[in-house]
Amino acid sequence: MTILASILILAGALFSLIAALGIVRMPDLYCRMHAATKAGAFGLSLILIGICFLVPEPRVIIQSLLIVAFFYLTTPIAGQMIGRAAIIRGIPFWKR
């Protein structure tokens, strides 16, 4: 259990690092939004699932899965609203 939780936590931290690298290196607002929302949510959910394996209590499991479900429900809404606001304000697209 400890080994599985360690692997999940390290994988989540690496996915968060991938999200941060994408938010620095991507050329456009919309590409940056893609990197930040998807990889960031996946990394956080991997860390929380690792904690579920590490602490097998009902409260921890229920609350971790609740946080993951809430995050996956709210991240697309926030991303869509930021993208619509950016298009309304006329943030330019990436032209190669």
Binding site: M1, T2, I9, L10, S16, G40, L54, V60, I67, A85
Partner: protein, 96 residues
């Protein structure tokens, strides 16, 4: 709360905290440098997700299960702040 469960090894916790801290530095670079306001909002969203990762990781290597409440509160507040910023930016006359 203090039931006997295993904790992750110390080097796993240290490595994961270091990777998350490096990711926070990269997101902070984008907040500092971002050319437009929606860039900064996206980076702030990712920064809140990384803080939630730190909090969840401190559940793993300390024994306080109550830190998950902190992660829940940060998730709710981040979603509301992002939606509020996006609705504010949809007004084209809004000062930046």
């Amino acid at each position: 709360m203090f039931s006997e469960f295993q904790t992750i090894p110390a080097w796993v916790a240290l490595t994961a905290h270091s990777i998350l801290g490096l990711s926070m530095l990269l997101a902070g670079y984008r907040i500092w440098k971002g050319p437009s306001i929606p860039d900064r909002i996206v980076a702030l969203d990712l920064l809140a997700a990384l803080i939630m990762g730190h909090v969840a990781l401190s559940v793993a290597h300390s024994r306080f299960v109550s830190y998950l409440d902190v992660a829940t509160a940060i998730a709710v507040i981040t979603f509301l702040a992002t939606v509020a910023f996006a609705r504010y930016l949809e007004n084209k006359d809004a000062p930046l």
